[in-house]
Symmetry: D2
Subunit: 362 residues, 4 copies
């Protein structure tokens, strides 16, 4: 993920020609040596083996956190305390309480924050938001969203920190919580959930201890019913054992006058159905992204040429930089990240207690 | 639906050349006149304006019930009482209690029964069952199924018997319960559900009374989490207001060694992912139905030529006829129809009481 | 193919409720015994081992020819001489000269004729014709069509009559000439072609003579550039060795204001692009066939439920029967079949002589 | 296009961490002022209003030519004369003779050359080459390729240099000649063609002269039959008026043991059919690009996350830089660009003279 950020810092100025200059000032790693190597590879000016020194460095305006999940909180609080703006990968922290703590600290310190939910930076996602907000599909009735991958489908894959609650929090539900953010981005606040979680592969081999296995502590697959503040209903689903799904952030939204379908595996197209087309010519329309859609033109002046994964990070970095330089609102900020974490926690509690849980309980 | 049955009776002998002859002996309608007209159109030998006379007719071996849902029970009981085999459209009745009653009556009378869940007759569905049962995708982990259509998406569509509980029972959940049967066919018994239902368009115009509206009594959209006896989990979804979906019986099944995807709107193909393909050549494979797959060869000797909606009814009628003639087990029989009705009722109760409901409660 | 016709005769009355009654009066096969068996299977009243007797039978109004290609001419001439209407499978004969002969005989005798180009009976094809004729995609600029299959891709498949010019005429080009008829149906007359043909597998094993092979005399794959009378240009392609293509009759038509894409392997949908959609919402629209499209409603009252291969034959038989009963024009009649045969012959001559060939040369 | 190159120079080091450092030393434009502005936007160290000065500059090792087509020759010759390596956008020049001249000059001067056929840099294209070269689909029998777009479909679009032969050479055939390069890359040398070209919109408005139109001098759509040295045959097609096609570089390759299908509009997936799959499980497999495929891992460690248009240019720049730094062969070099230009010219001559043309004639 650090590399994806670095690519974005490199390419963003050439894509967007922003009115400010981004300096890759300082890179911290777990040792001086590793930091030096990464800084060289990723084009940073200086490097250091101690993240606290980075946070304290006067040349640093923005702290970018790409560490394992359980370190986000401490790093973010330190950065905020040093008066830095903070750009943090998702999930924000391991619990709503922690996320609220960093959110309130940031708000009090009046620093800018951004959580790396990069899939909503895809021009396709913004186009869909434009379609919904413009009333093109009428009132949203139903949202069915998944973020399914298969990176842990193979039971031979080793035990790791991602499978332990104290380092990673929730399993697929936390790791693939992009779909929660996407639902909130497009349909608004979720107010109530009822969920079910499952650890499919309960033991995994410990590489350092042949013959030993570690107990997987979080979910391999999770799903829930959701109710939105708007009255819409929906389902969300995450899996890290869904054979064949590589980047299965996909959703269908049915509205009172149309529908939208999207699949991140074909990230440069959306499918739009409108009941205002003539009745005998209605159908899902495959709209390829092009220069008439949000942010696309900066990448390519011609339609249908396709954006890639790293391009979303370029948009994200542009938004971060302009948000800070021009004091614009950023979203999803830490408070929005906290809202995602509340949904994660609510789904987990719902599963434990076998009942619907309101988000405000968390 | 009566017409679809008639087409099937006509075409089936030419397709399957069965060792028995099917006689379209007698057609009943609500009046002698209407019955006469329909019998002429649909190629029946005789007609009658009273269904009770049909049930009693000694020339009739099998009673085929295509009436509105609320009449199924009475007609089925009468047919069973007369010792006839019964072929009934879905849903079997309006409640699990009624469905159990007709089921027990049929079992006691030792008549054959079949419920018209025609989508599982699609060779594609049987191929998928063969794939699952043969272990090709390993242990089933997750089933996500929908049966979404948009036949009531337009709020100007009139109030009708389908929208009233006493005539139709559940709304989209009952009408599109094919997806429940499909889940049971492919993954086995459902043991527990947690559901949510919604009536999106609460009032609809009454055609006979300009300016008046009728109150819709059943769901426009419904969805639920399900737990299977096998340990698999899943979601089911039905909608009659899902703009753009015409025959959206679609599902994805993730197993421990592969996945299967199907969409009835492209009914002559399945998508199969197998983790036993070489890792750098894995992908969802679009398998077009052909003569090597169940029942296809009777329709066409060459692959990829495509089956249609009516062809599934032809398979269904073939199964009915052979089942009776050769005393073979039929599925889904009334007991299987009762299992579908229990799931419907469990989802409704779950919604009312805001909790998980075990199927055995109903 | 005989079976497909029989299914159509059986099912058509129930689908279309035509005002005339079709009698499956007499079936001829190569022996009395075989004819008897087939008549029983396919539901014909009588049978006979001599096709000349069928042609002469006074109870027969229409002769339906499903024999191997090289017999079409003789049978058609005999039927015409007996004053019968003739329904013949494609290709009409093995040469333009023969096709012209039977065409002129039929026209002189004033009998109705129809050639079995069933793919243009697909409601999808008629919908596309409606779209083109209505000017929805403007002036047609380009047609790219294929009819690719893989039924002879395996080099182990045996030598047969299909591979010999005297029995079968052209190879893939003749067998899959549906795409020529489709181009003519949708874009109009072809006036000039330049083609290339190839026999990929030159020898095939003779089953009766182990170790011996027969020399394949006709094309495994063929393609050509075409010029239409309208000024449009295009390419046509046929193959019987195109691995993976089962029913690959597919085409794209670009017009001055839109485009249409179709693939018979997904026979119940078309893809329509219109430049009159808003520029930032343009895209190919997947229109599922439904009751608002030609002929669909007779099969099913709800959209998206899907038609199958045999359903096209049902439409064809309906057109045949009504055309005869009500003295309506039939298309493609023998003259239209002759036009297809001229294109086939022109492509072959173009290949032999290495030059563009005008259709009127043949 | 200059911007796409600049993005690639910026991002490449972060993606590939090459062992050499790329300096964006000098940017030339048509005036000092414009050059200064572009250099600032695109991150170049220096700028200049005279391209000859750039070519002569001792700090410059590689000259990158993104000018209009008719200037390529002069610039390339000057750069070669100055001993610089040359990276030139396609088409190389406006005629085979000119392309041969620059090719021979470069070969004599022993400078490295590369032509910007970026679509073959797509990991998908390299994966397909790997599949073909590894014999996975057997011997290639047929190639059907298109590069269709609709950027000039609207007849109101103005007259420009692209429509005049002296500035642009061929029309769609020259502009979209990527498909020729792709065919050569995947299937090898083309030895003979027979083509047809058409200017669909013959006059276009001249913006500076209201009411006046300019005569379009080159093709709006073109297609040809081709014969490869290997014995395979195929068709190629280009169009700039194909409504709905935005980046329609698409092809299907049929081999003796399988087929491959690709569409640049879905640039991160290929479709592979193999006859070695079990016969009842064969189908086109959608393989999503991932880290096991060529070059992908440098962009993203997880499969299916998608590459974009600019990513191909990053690969191209990596190949350029490593090719020069490590003295590796580069392809397509100027000689390969010359081969593309010969095919273009052969198709044009074939059209003019109405006959097959051998490439060696040009």
């Amino acid at each position: 993920m650090g590399k994806a950020h670095a690519i974005a810092y490199h390419a963003m100025p050439a894509v967007f020609a922003p009115p400010v200059r981004v300096i890759r000032a300082l890179l911290a790693e777990t040792s001086d040596e590793l930091a030096r190597q990464r800084a060289r590879e990723l084009g940073f000016e200086r490097s250091i083996g101690d993240w606290r020194a980075l946070v304290a460095d006067p040349a640093v305006d923005v702290v970018d956190i790409c560490s394992p999940n359980h370190l986000h909180k401490e790093m973010a609080l330190a950065a905020i305390a040093a008066g830095k703006h903070v750009y943090c990968e998702k999930p924000l922290t391991l619990s709503p309480a922690d996320s609220l703590e960093v959110t309130e600290a940031a708000e009090k310190a009046s620093v800018k924050t951004l959580v790396g939910f990069n899939y909503m930076r895809n021009p396709a996602a913004k186009l869909i938001k434009e379609i919904i907000d413009g009333g093109e599909i009428g009132r949203v009735l139903h949202f069915r969203g998944t973020h399914n991958e298969d990176y842990l489908a193979n039971p031979e894959l080793p035990f790791s920190w991602r499978l332990q609650r104290r380092y990673s929090g929730a399993g697929s539900l936390g790791d693939l919580c992009h779909i929660i953010n996407m639902a909130q981005f497009l349909v608004g606040n979720i107010v109530e959930v009822c969920g079910d979680l499952q650890t499919v592969i309960k033991q995994r081999p410990i590489p350092e201890q042949p013959g030993q296995t570690g107990t997987v502590e979080n979910d391999d697959q999770a799903h829930c019913l959701v109710r939105f503040a708007s009255g819409a209903i929906g389902t969300l689903e995450t899996s890290r054992v869904a054979a064949g799904r590589k980047m299965g952030l996909a959703f269908e939204i049915n509205g009172s006058r149309g529908s939208v379908v999207f699949d991140q595996e074909r990230m440069s197209e959306i499918h739009l159905y409108s009941t205002s087309d003539p009745s005998n010519r209605q159908g899902f329309r495959t709209v390829l992204l092009g220069p008439e859609h949000p942010d696309y033109r900066a990448f390519c002046p011609a339609a249908g040429h396709g954006l890639g994964y790293n391009d979303m990070k370029i948009v994200e970095v542009r938004d971060l930089v302009l948000g800070i330089a021009q004091d614009l609102p950023l979203w999803p900020d830490f408070r929005a990240g906290y809202q995602v974490d509340r949904v994660i926690a609510a789904v987990e509690r719902s599963h434990e207690e076998g009942r619907w849980v309101r988000i405000e309980e968390l």
